[in-house]
């Protein structure tokens, strides 16, 4: 019993900051410390969120958004991981492509939004392409880093046992680089959510990003905040999911 209480108490402590913030928001908005036309009380946001869930609006747009981000992220992994493995393996390719990759990486995907729209139009393709572009770099660079960071003694040990090149790659380089690849995918996934909002705010007629933009234009401020809150929760869930998946997949490291 006391153990359960302790656990609940510990949990409460860990989210105390969030609770205090929400309470301050509620009070400040109610007593008019902040303009409640632009920042409605938190409770009102919650009520609006419930309405959005009840009438199915939220899930309709969420499904579209998730499809786009998963497609973009999937492409990012599908291209980034194999390309990164190849680049990390072959120093000559790395020397040749290194500065180009660095420049492309530094080119903000947000700055490229007009380019994507010009080239691919306003449809799904351009949105998926934007997310692909944004997720590609963290995945690519962490894969290259992972491959290059493999402790050479593992490779030596494997080669000393007359392992083939393919064997060294599959049974040593790949598992050794996996944690780094996974970190890249996690960064890319959280980045994908952010990119999605931007992509959907520019010339879209569906998706959560569109919804935020639409409610702002229509001056439905509590609903706008409700969707913003959904994004925050999505980000939290995503990160939590990845951290746990990482723990399960990679059990061979100290906690």
């Amino acid at each position: 019993m006391s153990k359960a209480l302790n656990l609940a108490g510990g949990y409460l402590k860990s989210i105390l900051g969030v609770l205090v913030f929400l309470l301050a928001w509620e009070i400040a908005s109610r007593i008019g410390l902040i303009n409640n036309t632009f920042i409605p009380p938190f409770s009102k946001v919650v009520v609006n969120l419930a309405e959005l869930i009840a009438d199915g609006t939220l899930f309709h747009h969420m499904a579209i958004s998730l499809m786009r981000s998963l497609a973009g992220l999937g492409l990012g992994i599908g291209v980034g991981v194999p390309l990164g493995l190849a680049i990390g393996q072959i120093p000559a390719v790395e020397r040749f492509l290194g500065s180009l990759l660095e420049t492309l990486r530094q080119t903000s995907v947000l700055a490229l939004i007009p380019v994507f729209i010009l080239l691919l139009g306003l449809g799904e393709t351009s949105k998926i392409a934007m997310i692909f572009w944004g997720t590609l770099w963290p995945i690519l660079l962490s894969t290259i880093g992972g491959v290059k960071g493999v402790d050479p003694t593992y490779i030596t040990a494997s080669r000393s046992m007359a392992e083939t090149r393919v064997g060294v790659f599959l049974k040593v380089i790949l598992p050794a680089a996996l944690p780094s690849i996974f970190t890249g995918v996690r960064l890319a996934a959280t980045g994908a959510v952010m990119l999605l909002i931007a992509a959907e705010m520019v010339g879209a007629s569906s998706g959560l990003g569109f919804l935020i933009y639409d409610y702002q234009v229509k001056y439905q401020i509590p609903k706008m905040f409700a969707v913003i809150a959904v994004f925050s929760i999505m980000g939290l869930v995503l990160n939590f999911g990845f951290v746990n998946a990482e723990k399960r997949l990679i059990r061979w490291r100290p906690e």
Partner: protein
């Protein structure tokens, strides 16, 4: 091949005037390339079943020599043979054990020991059986399902030994395997290694910079000098087995120690003369070496 007549049937490994010259990237001022001689005329025969230590200062090339024998580094002159066949690359007839253990951290102890058996394409059940046997040999059965990060340095090295022994190589090549563990653990590992060696009848080539370690473990000690890396002398160790800690304070042990010490310090020129005169230093039979 007449090499074999020179070395005799007992030699499982024979290194014949092995040389390794590196071309250094930074050229000299006059534009000529710079060369570094890592190994020069290294000639050494290792008898089947013996424990041979190679002792020498840091950077003398003793580890490099071991890696050439493992087939992991290419020599530039001379040749090395195992069972009369020239060494051209790595193979499962040699097992190397490194100072840094080099266990795969993503594999459990059991799976680490099975690695060489996978390369050997043994069926799954057979792999598990052999791995069990060798994990038991090094006394770590209860740790089969642990990951390397859960083991101490000494335990990791015992698993590395089990991994190398599991695929049944003829020769174990050990590169300063106990340099990273504390003194007490090292003493224990020495005893363990000798026990395992006697039980498995393997040939062991053991590289170290510790004179005491070299003498304590070995049947013979090869003394290696730096720049250029070459073998100066091979010394017979006539201490009885099983070896014990007390022997380290015996008179014979002290004589071996001082002999090696003097040869490590002697000017290189003498060795060069001997080398040019005799071609290969190992021609000296152990009883020719005056102590």
């Amino acid at each position: 091949m007449n090499r074999m007549t020179v070395t005799g049937k007992r030699d499982i490994i024979y290194s014949d005037q092995l040389g390794l010259v590196y071309k250094i990237r930074n050229a000299k001022k006059n534009g000529e390339p710079n060369f570094l001689t890592a190994l020069k005329d290294v000639t050494l025969g290792v008898h089947k079943g013996e424990f041979l230590s190679i002792v020498g200062p840091s950077g003398c090339g003793k580890s490099t020599f071991l890696y050439v024998l493992a087939g992991l580094i290419k020599k530039t002159s001379g040749a090395a043979y195992i069972d009369g066949e020239e060494i051209t690359g790595p193979a499962l007839n040699r097992g190397i054990i490194m100072q840094q253990y080099a266990l795969f951290p993503w594999r459990t102890v059991q799976k680490n020991v099975e690695y060489g058996l996978e390369v050997k394409k043994l069926p799954k059940q057979e792999r598990a059986r052999v791995a069990d046997e060798f994990i038991e040999l090094v006394g770590l059965s209860e740790f089969s399902n642990r990951y390397p990060y859960e083991l101490s340095g000494g335990m990791k090295q015992r698993i590395a030994i089990a991994r190398a022994l599991a695929y049944d190589p003829e020769v174990l090549l050990m590169d300063e395997p106990f340099a990273a563990v504390d003194e007490q653990t090292r003493g224990f590992l020495h005893a363990e290694l000798l026990r395992i060696w006697e039980k498995t009848n393997k040939t062991i080539l053991f590289v170290t910079h510790s004179i005491d370690e070299a003498i304590f473990l070995a049947d013979r000690v090869a003394i290696m000098s730096a720049s250029p890396g070459t073998i100066r002398e091979v010394l017979d160790i006539d201490l009885p087995r099983p070896r014990s800690e007390e022997m380290k304070s015996s008179r014979e042990f002290a004589r071996y120690r001082s002999f090696i010490w003097q040869h490590l310090q002697a000017p290189t020129d003498i060795t060069r003369e001997v080398l040019t005169e005799r071609g290969r230093i190992l021609a000296a039979e152990p009883n020719e070496v005056a102590i």
